[in-house]
């Protein structure tokens, strides 16, 4: 117990130090912006990893929930003149509610069938956002009013870097707490054997639904932060199918069932395309190659495979 608790707090402490120290290495605002995007994606991926890596349920439509969070902030503050933070909370509640309603029927599906059903859900959200132009501005997207707290306008990538870093830290603490709790054991058990879980008294359907709702709330908050950071959002950029695929790739690349892996996966997939622009026309080719080679050499994901190697167990 002491060992587990200390490893939990060492992860949190390590992350806090990294978030606080990185700005000293940033030569320009551009770096703050990229790092803020890493934080935001990492937050969504930590949530999705609870669902995929721990509970073993895939979702190919999670960007849909990011879209709900992003557009709740945009529509709430632009059309209803709500305070941005209130709009963000409403978005999180809405995403949770939608996940609850959608999750009940589709979480009965398994494996590829669940993947396709969630994919359909994601497409539905991004199409709705693109079509309801009166509210959302259509495919071109809409502007997001600046968040104001106590008369102070929050702008600039550095401000949002620290805010998103704080949000990520909170998300990581909650996720780590959950993993070492009865709920966490139940979801890991469901991943390995649903039958044995049921015999142990676990209501499998109820737990899948709870984790789905929780991961949707993570994604929604991440989407809201993205909207605040960018000041402008589009259906494709927040809720598009490729975004969903990107989130899943971050989970798998970083390492299923590893909170640190989720962050590393997000960081790699956000930073690499920026770094690879030096290859000009071959940028996407290089990105694809690096992902492939990484999965071949580190098949369990970057963090779990490297940890196994450090312990001398091989990948």
């Amino acid at each position: 117990m002491a060992r587990l608790a200390s490893s939990r707090w060492s992860i949190v402490l390590g992350l806090a130090i990294v978030i606080a120290a990185l700005p000293f290495l940033f030569p320009s605002n551009y770096y703050f912006r990229v790092a803020a995007i890493v934080n935001i994606f990492a937050l969504a991926v930590v949530g999705l990893n609870l669902l995929m890596g721990y509970a073993g349920q895939v979702s190919l439509g999670h960007a849909g929930f990011m879209g709900i969070g992003a557009y709740s902030v945009a529509i709430g503050s632009a059309h209803f003149k709500l305070h941005g933070l209130l709009a963000m909370l409403i978005g999180a509640a809405l995403a949770g509610l939608v996940a609850f309603l959608v999750g009940r029927p589709i979480l009965r599906l398994k494996g590829h069938y669940l993947a396709v059903a969630t994919l359909g859900f994601g497409l539905l959200i991004s199409m709705a956002l693109a079509n309801e132009a009166a509210w959302t501005g259509g495919p071109d997207g809409m502007g997001v009013p600046r968040l104001e707290i106590l008369g102070y306008r929050l702008r600039g990538p550095d401000t949002w870097y620290y805010i998103s870093g704080g949000a990520l830290l909170i998300g990581v603490i909650l996720a780590l707490n959950l993993i070492e709790s009865p709920t966490g054991r139940a979801m890991r058990a469901i991943h390995d054997s649903e039958i044995a879980s049921r015999v142990a008294g676990i209501d499998v359907a109820a737990y899948k639904l709870r984790i789905f709702v929780l991961s949707a709330i993570y994604a929604s908050v991440a989407g809201s932060l993205m909207a605040f950071l960018n000041g402008h959002i589009t259906p494709d950029g927040t809720a598009g199918f490729l975004r969903s695929v990107e989130l899943v790739t971050m989970v798998v690349l970083g390492g299923m069932g590893s909170v640190v892996g989720a962050i590393v996966g997000a960081a790699v997939l956000v930073i690499l395309p920026q770094a690879l622009t030096i290859f000009h026309d071959y940028e996407h080719l290089m990105l694809g190659l690096i992902i492939m080679v990484s999965m071949i050499l580190l098949p369990r994901g970057i963090v779990p495979s490297l940890l196994a190697r450090l312990r001398g167990g091989g990948a």
Partner: protein, 262 residues
């Protein structure tokens, strides 16, 4: 004779016209070991799956502690005190041995998911309690030494005992064990023998499917022989051992002649 803890009344299930379990009635008393034997394909595991809620019976009833529980799902039966192990292991392979057993504590853990997210002191206390109980059970089945090892790295015999420990963690009133000694060596079988004895002595009813006849005859209070889904003979180990129909069921008519000659 005390009140029966588990009763099945003419329990049947058919798969595509074939009656895998056909009108089986049995009663299990608290603290007693009730074994089910029979040739391969006799319907022993199917009967277990019916009783533990994994299959829905075509007809017949299951009563647990006097309450009709026919058709209830396994998670509801777990809350009413029924637990089981599996013939083909159902282990949480990526979790530690201790965590596997802690999952068995699930129905006794009362804190909410919101509490779990914030790691409230009540949750930490509950975690510690579950861990202590799990460690005690691992000790009881002789696995305390591997508590923190990933279950996937344990031997087959250890996993069999791990399943029993996990089932016991639910604090069942009745425990269904499906071939707990299959694939175990003599020492491991002896250990399982001892564990089953202890379990029954603590007042838990045990329903056992097992192929190791020496084990069955040694520890059972009551034996039921199934053949092609039907109950063939039922009684004390002695009655069953000496019943010619049982020998026929296992060895065929030719075998009976051989046995008689011997």
């Amino acid at each position: 004779m005390s009140f029966p803890l588990l009763e099945t009344d003419n329990l049947s299930i058919a798969f595509g016209g074939i009656k895998a379990v056909d009108s089986v009635s049995l009663t299990v008393q608290p603290g007693k070991i009730h074994s089910i034997i029979g040739p391969n394909g006799a319907g022993k595991t199917t009967l277990f799956n019916l009783i533990s809620g994994l299959y829905q019976p075509s007809s017949g009833r299951v009563k647990l502690g006097g309450e009709d529980v026919t058709g209830l799902p396994p998670e509801q039966l777990a809350r009413r005190g029924l637990s089981r192990s599996f013939q083909n292991l159902q282990i949480f392979f990526r979790m530690s041995a201790c965590d596997n057993v802690m999952v068995g504590r699930h129905r006794h853990e009362k804190t909410s998911m919101l509490g779990h997210l914030f790691a409230l002191p009540s949750v930490r206390a509950e975690n510690a309690r579950s861990r202590d109980l799990a460690m005690g059970l691992l000790e009881r089945v002789g696995l305390a030494g591997v508590a923190n090892k990933e279950a996937g790295s344990l031997s087959y015999g250890a996993l069999k005992r791990l399943e029993i420990a996990r089932a016991l963690a639910t604090e069942p009133r009745i425990l269904l064990l499906d071939e707990p000694a299959a694939g175990c060596n003599a020492i491991e079988t002896e250990e399982i023998d001892r564990v089953i004895h202890d379990v029954a002595k603590s007042g838990i009813a045990v329903l056992l499917v097992e192929h190791d006849m020496r084990l069955v005859m040694r520890i059972s209070d009551h034996v039921l022989v199934l053949e092609r889904g039907k109950s063939l003979v039922s009684g004390t180990p002695e009655t069953v051992r000496n019943d010619p129909r049982v020998i026929t069921a296992y060895l065929g008519t030719f075998g009976t002649e051989e046995a008689n000659r011997a």
